[in-house]
């Protein structure tokens, strides 16, 4: 075939990851496994620094990530002190009280109509009864005790009683979605060991100088130990310093911090010996955002605040008041957060990931969730040595879209005023559409499924004023009995599920057999 310029194609033979934290190792592990038959030398360069104790909350995409690594779930949980996760508890967000957002759909289709329309109809009914007595001003939400969304969701009901199950095909549990929360230090070591086992080379050094060629491609990194490393492709995982993409290549950062209202994050670990919850917690207060992630025996706590509003000292006392005393006082850290995204994420032969690529506090997502997606997107358009700019463009378009969708989730939860912001948001349209039609707007590169958007609206106590006309002829008593029946079905299903902590104890004791059993559950669930 003469159309293919045989001689001009040179494959990538070496990739250097400039790392600083777990993002670099996540990329290293995934690439090492995916490119193992490609003869690509992968090197990670990172400075020597102690890893501070931390916990990570992951999303449902971690399941595919682990499976692509060929890692068994039980093996992983044992190694990284992992626990299961059904969602995120949202407290006082957007004026709502205290609700659980879960990944799994709430209810099933009934007579071809999505379940949430029945809940909306029931709520409209109960409001009409209230309205006949008193006037309610708020059109967005109320606290009517008549409709409890949580009791119609198996995952939410299970999470509230600390029970866990994997999905089971052809049963009421067929669409259970779950994720993990892990000890960040052990997870990092797990990924690092995995990467090293697959041939990744580690150099312990600082990047001192980046040599860029006339074509705008990075050629070499000069290191603090006197070595220099050359590569065909570079991954900038140096965090907010962005040593490659910004310092060397001059790609700017689009600052979105105005929309977020906080610029500092305090982190600490507190002891916690209560039952291990199946969710992380996000709490809005007048001081800022509190978040906590459970791991076995402890909680990792975050406090995001505005440096304009309080000093670091004040922030510490606010955080201690909220979370209690830290396990170790010297492990309380405060870092600067600059919300925003890199203008282009892939420039020349350099790809930025982790905080070098952007930092958008999504509340439902962790930065590592986005790194996992980023690696998959990059592997889908894997370049040759020449790094065709059209591939980079395709990657940059889809990546930016994802950050925009993540910012949407934040804006919805935080009720941010987005007027005049530097980026366009779909939140207003989504909210208006849901409020007036009960439908979820479709956008490309979305980060939540339709069922998850509905769960999020409900967790924020945002209700439609309209339900599907297909159910308008259902009598009020039929509706009530349908919902009662559904709630009792959910209770029955949850009643026979095992306790989360009990399951975790069993996992710690498992042998190889049980391991493959859990794995096959996981696989069959995904295929169903």
């Amino acid at each position: 075939m003469n159309a293919i310029e045989k001689n001009s194609i040179e494959k990538i033979r070496s990739i250097v990851i400039a790392g600083n934290d777990i993002h670099g190792w996540a990329v290293a592990a995934r690439l090492a496994r995916s490119l193992r038959s490609q003869g690509v030398q992968i090197t990670i360069v990172e400075p020597n620094h102690a890893v501070v104790p931390n916990a990570l909350t992951l999303s449902t995409n971690a399941l595919d990530f682990h499976s692509d690594l060929g890692v068994q779930e039980v093996e992983l949980l044992k190694n990284v002190g992992g626990v299961y996760k059904y969602g995120t508890r949202l407290q006082n967000c957007r004026g709502s009280k205290d609700n659980l957002f879960c990944y799994s759909p709430t209810g099933e289709l009934v007579d071809r109509v999505k379940f949430h329309h029945y809940l909306s109809r029931q709520r409209i009914n109960s409001r009409q009864r209230i309205n006949s007595h008193e006037q309610i001003n708020s059109h967005e939400r109320d606290s009517s005790p008549e409709v409890k969304v949580a009791e119609h969701s198996i995952a939410t009901t299970a999470a509230l009683s600390n029970k866990f199950t994997h999905p089971e095909p052809n049963s009421a549990l067929h669409n259970i979605d779950y994720a993990f929360q892990v000890d960040g230090v052990r997870y990092l070591h797990f990924l690092a060991q995995f990467a090293l086992r697959y041939g990744v080379k580690r150099l312990e050094a600082e990047v001192e100088k980046v040599v860029v060629g006339d074509n705008g491609f990075i050629q070499t990194l000069m290191l603090s130990n006197g070595e220099s490393v050359h590569a065909d492709f570079f991954i900038d995982a140096t965090g907010s310093k962005a040593l490659l993409i910004e310092e060397a290549l001059g790609v700017t950062y689009d600052d979105w911090s105005q929309a977020f209202g906080y610029d500092r994050r305090l982190e600490m670990i507190t002891p916690d010996n209560s039952e291990t919850p199946l969710f992380n917690t996000v709490t809005k207060t007048r001081h800022g955002w509190f978040r906590s992630i459970p791991i076995q025996g402890a909680r990792h706590c975050h406090f995001s605040y505005s440096s304009a509003a309080m000093s670091e000292e004040q922030a510490r006392s606010v955080a201690f008041a909220e979370f209690g005393q830290p396990i170790r006082d010297d492990l309380v850290s405060v870092s600067e957060q600059r919300q925003g995204v890199r203008h282009t994420h892939w420039q020349g032969n350099c790809l930025a990931i982790g905080e070098a690529a952007g930092f958008v506090e999504a509340l439902l997502f962790s930065p590592l969730d986005l790194t996992i997606n980023a690696i998959e997107r990059w592997l889908a358009v894997y370049p040759d040595k020449s790094c065709n700019y059209l591939l980079a463009q395709e990657y940059n378009i889809t990546t930016r879209n994802e950050y925009l969708r993540v910012a949407d989730v934040h804006a919805l939860i935080a009720d941010s005023n987005l007027a005049g912001q530097a980026f366009s948001s779909s939140v207003e349209h989504r909210l208006e559409l849901f409020r007036s039609t009960g439908q979820v707007a479709f956008y490309e590169s979305d980060v939540l499924s339709e069922a998850q958007w509905i769960n999020l609206f409900f967790a924020l106590e945002l209700w439609p004023e309209f339900y599907d006309p297909l159910i308008s002829k259902v009598s009020d008593s039929d509706l009530r009995s349908l919902l009662d029946k559904h709630a009792s079905h959910v209770r029955d299903v949850v009643a026979r599920l095992p306790k989360h902590d009990q399951l975790l104890q069993e996992i710690l004791k498992t042998t190889q057999n049980a391991d493959s059993q859990a794995k096959s559950n996981q696989t069959s669930a995904r295929n169903s």
Partner: protein, 553 residues
Amino acid sequence: MQNKTNDAVQNIVIVGGGTAGWMTAAALSHLLKGSSIAQGCSSAQGCSSAQGSSLAEGSSLAEGSCKITLIESEQIGTVGVGEATLPHLRFFNQRLGIDEPEFMQATNATYKLGIEFANWGQQGDAYIHPFGDFGQPVNGVPFHHYWLKSKQHGNDHPIGDYSLPVVAAAQERFDFPSQDPNSLLATYSFAYHLDAGLYAKYLRGYSEERGVIRQEGLVESVQQDSESGFITSVTLKNGVQVDGDLFIDCSGFRGLLIEQTLETGYEHWKHWLPCDRAVAIPCEKEEQPLPYTRATADRAGWRWRIPLQHRTGNGHVYCSDFMSDDEALDSLQKGLDGKPFAEPNFLRFNTGRRKKMWNKNCVAIGLSAGFLEPLESTGIHLIQLGIMKLIEFFPNKQVDSAFSSEFNRVMQMEIERVKDFLILHYHATERDDTEFWNYVRTMSVPDELRRKMDLFKQTGHVVKYQEGLFLEPSWVAVYLGQRFLPQRYDTRVDGFSVGDMQAQLDKLRVEVLNSVQAMPLHKDAIAGLENQLNDGWKNTDMSLYGTRSRNFH
């Protein structure tokens, strides 16, 4: 606060019969009036749980009071010709509880596995765009990259040899896809060729059984609310006045309500898709109907050939700037398989889309919403999509603009993407034998299509999107079928030795061939419709490519 939001639509008026009108009437009559039928849980989620059906039991949901009137006149002909469809129509029929063999007999339908495009990339070329994928990804790299490399190393098998529906079509075989997701026989989907006039007639019977009122007559005037501009009623020539809350414009090209009354406006795409005429003639069928549509490029457009059970539908789509009606008819007649059954039927059209398919309380469905030539059989599909989106965003009596704005946004996204895919067929060509082909080969194309084509040309990668009809396998079929070959393939292909790779490709090709040879002939599958050997296929979903290709949607 008074709750008026669920003030239900009481009167729906559909203006115009034909395929669009009767498909709309059938779907609305079924869904708005329908009792809870077994097909209620046709979706995978619904059926797999025991809870879905048991909950609905005993509560008779949705026994409607909504009146549906369809106005049509015997005096106005419909554009209905032999039509080729997409697999999604099966989903539509199944939602309506329609029995597949009965429907096929009523519409003289045959099975369809894809479309053969002849003379597009260059005269003498031919390829099939199948309802299915080519091979499968290995190590995360799509199959066509491996094929490109093997071609470079002397493999002269076209990529179609690695696609089950392509080989089955070429061998005139047909069978229902397998339900085992690991089987090669799960790598495809299928649709029908049908007589659209008979389909409309069939759906008319279906709709009238479910209470739709057919009102004979020609619309003479349309009344609007003086403040809102909403349509309040239409008055017929015979003096009958029909009131409505929601009006569906299925009046065809002219857009009686959406354009002639509401003056919504139209976006023209003639500079990208210059064909503006068509002529159609049915003719005697050839020996056995083929399980695929044929689209043969001509000097200034293309000719279709659609095999039905009892005859063959033929047509010629052409551009009047480059070809006269006489020339078009002459070329069409020369290509017929048998004796013509009827006088030629000439049509004129403007390719483009209505600026708002839903304006005020009027929803345009079918040709009134926009027109794209039937090159990829998208006519009935866009009708179906309009109906499904209307049902999803079915409004209250006040017809809040939140419903229409999202409907319009989503429908526009769909039709624009189909448009780009159609333009590709004309633009990705080496033909330079006529003025027409010189024009389309050298014209400037929409920016987003340019980006897609450049990316494929330079890297072999296909731009990904989630929502949209034609996904990666379709783009690959047309690019490669029309000589639009990439300059590079994904270098990860080099991770395998050439010998190993060729052996794997050969193995797949032989497996495809063996699987196809075990399938019955298409003519036997059609014959089976009469004697109940064939009770239809119950699995449907909204995908072009079969169950194994879940990752494409």
